[in-house]
Symmetry: C2
Subunit: 386 residues, 2 copies
């Protein structure tokens, strides 16, 4: 397959924004083009990852809308939607279009505007990413689904909720060094103990927040990368897999088979193994999800991911730093933006431009993006510019 | 680019269906696999074109849902959304994935379930495909937008509404021969004269209906096509272009620049010209849209498309048959299904299996699929199996 690199990366600050959806998305896109040192007339195609702008802000058909805001004139503009993995599937679409030889220079934006919607509606909208007829309609929300996963994990492996605390505390600490993060607030076990219960055992600090935000990357064929001012972050491998939307059809709750498959495909394509990865941005929509992710990706054995966080193995200076950006938990989780934001963080890290949160000597970064409770999983492996 | 062919095609009957969204989509997918003579375990990737299942039926993230219903196990499953062109962008995504060398055998389904929603809400949901903030919110619905286009056309070229009548009458007549069509009802000018005004000058018979339905194609690399029982319908060319969502930003109303661009790209890729096309399935969401489409595609000069319909040039036995399936007007318009359904009809025609509505000697078929009032346009050109 034709090699692809990332030559531009940018994101907005996540959180509650005064900007409208289209302005957020355009801001990220424009800054990514600036980062690449190109004008909009050099972009040949546009892919937008966004989850549910129809229900959040009455705006479907958002790809040509954002393309027009960005001055992309008449380039092919396509939205992909795979719930919280929408940003990653937009990125894979760009890779395919380039590898097919249809385009050389493609812009990918991920965006979501969530805070303009009443919070009570937001939980319901998010539940449309699960099997509505069989689960959401009867009350299984995402906090509920991941609470079941947390309970199953703790029961199966004999763990207590201090492993969840460790994830939240680490990711809030990491976000302190991320100017784009929604939260800049250190927390400790006592804050978590005092916080509101959302879905037992998950408290407020176990849940990623409701966020506005956008992220963008400029993706180009490696064979044309020399003409851009930025060194190209290499796409070494990727994998996508799917699974049942309904949690009740999963054989077990303590692993996401689609994440395992997506990871295996990405490792195989890259010719790499888990121990080669220098840092990972994983989909910690809830604290338990990060623990499960690190096991699905092969960083730790089953039941060992929680203890690894407690032992500091996934800290920024640990053996395998996980979510140096702060993760969904503390950086924020504007649904459609998240997958692209993970790529942006990976690009910053691999270019050595992650500032306070830089992982020393980062050569290989992995991103792990999940839609639903494991129905869509995308894993990518990126390499430092050659 | 690696050549791609269609080896399986199927659709459900369009109209009000008792089937749920997932069952409609799965039925089309299953029948397309049957048509290709393959089992679900031979499918390597899945793309779903669907517009707004979140607002229509509370179900986003529909790609893995349908994949699971179809027994596609864990293959990468991605939804694309480009309003009424969602089906076509799913098809182009499949082409890119194959041309990139990532997959050889891909299933594409387009689907929409619209009749489970109260009609008053449906118009509002459809308006989310336009620029909500600047036009839809203040009352410009799609019938309203196309009424403006019709008025502008009639004024500019000095035409009367008999050209619109001619489109509706032809497409209802064509649909009589299509077992999948929503309407099997001949109409005449007197029916149209008696029908309700929707948005002056567009009456009920100028508007495509609200429909449930699904369509599917099995798309494979030409270099593996020999192993399938069906001869491969060749994808000779395609083009996609975009434009402003807001109609007020268009320089003129009587042409869709994105359709012209998409058509030019498709013709250039195929090495063909408008006069080489034996039949076209075009996006007649409203009668005026078919007339504009035939001009944008170069079949007729500006202002000549309406008279051509009246003269029978676009009839099934005319020089360039347009919408032999009955088109969106009479076959129905389940939004996400439409683009794929156009490909299905083209495949039936090019295989010589279109029954009563067969266009004699069809060698080259063109499809023209529009999202919004021209914000996304996709044109494909298909050739008879070699």
């Amino acid at each position: 397959m034709r090699d692809v690199v990332i030559v531009g990366a940018a994101e907005t600050r996540f959180g509650k924004s005064e900007l409208a959806y289209r302005d957020l998305a355009a801001q990220a896109g424009r800054h990514a083009m600036d980062d690449a040192g190109i004008d909009s007339d050099e972009i040949e195609a546009f892919f937008l990852g966004t989850f549910s702008p129809g229900t959040f802000i009455h705006q479907e058909h958002a790809a040509p809308l954002i393309a027009h805001e960005l001055g992309l004139a008449h380039v092919p503009s396509t939205r992909t939607e795979n719930a919280c993995a929408s940003g990653s599937t937009a990125f894979l679409s760009a890779i395919y279009a380039i590898a097919a030889g249809a385009h050389d220079v493609v812009l990918v934006v991920g965006a979501e505007k969530m805070t303009a919607t009443p919070v009570a509606e937001t939980t319901s909208i998010l539940a449309e990413a699960a099997d509505w007829e069989n689960e959401s309609k009867v009350g299984l929300t995402f906090p509920g689904a991941y609470a079941l996963i947390a309970r199953a994990y703790m029961h199966k492996y004999g763990k207590t909720r201090d492993i969840l605390d460790a994830v939240a505390i680490k990711n809030h600490r990491n976000a302190m060094g991320n100017p784009y993060a929604q939260f800049h607030k250190l927390i400790g076990p006592e804050d978590i103990a005092r916080s509101a219960m959302v879905a037992d055992p998950l408290t407020l600090y176990d849940c990623s927040p409701i966020s506005d935000g956008a992220a963008a990357v400029v993706v180009v064929a490696a064979d044309v990368a020399e003409r851009f001012k930025r060194p190209g972050v290499r796409v070494l491998g990727f994998g996508q897999a799917s699974d049942s939307l309904a949690l009740y059809k999963h054989d077990e709750l303590t692993t996401l088979p689609a994440a395992r498959r997506a990871g295996e495909r990405a490792y195989r394509m890259a010719g790499l193994a888990p121990e080669d990865v220098d840092l990972a941005e994983v989909h910690d929509c809830f604290t338990i999800a990060e623990i499960v992710a690190t096991e699905d990706l092969g960083f730790f054995g089953p039941g060992e991911g929680g203890d690894a966080v407690k032992a500091g193995v996934t800290g920024r200076d640990g053996r395998i730093p996980v979510n140096p950006s702060g993760g969904l938990k503390a950086k924020g989780h504007p649904v459609g933006a998240t997958g692209v934001s993970q790529l942006v963080e990976a690009a910053f890290q691999l270019r050595g431009e992650a500032g306070e949160r830089q992982v020393d000597g980062a050569e290989i970064a992995l991103t792990h993006n999940v839609g639903g409770s494991g129905a869509t999983c995308v894993v990518t492996i990126l390499g430092r510019p050659a």
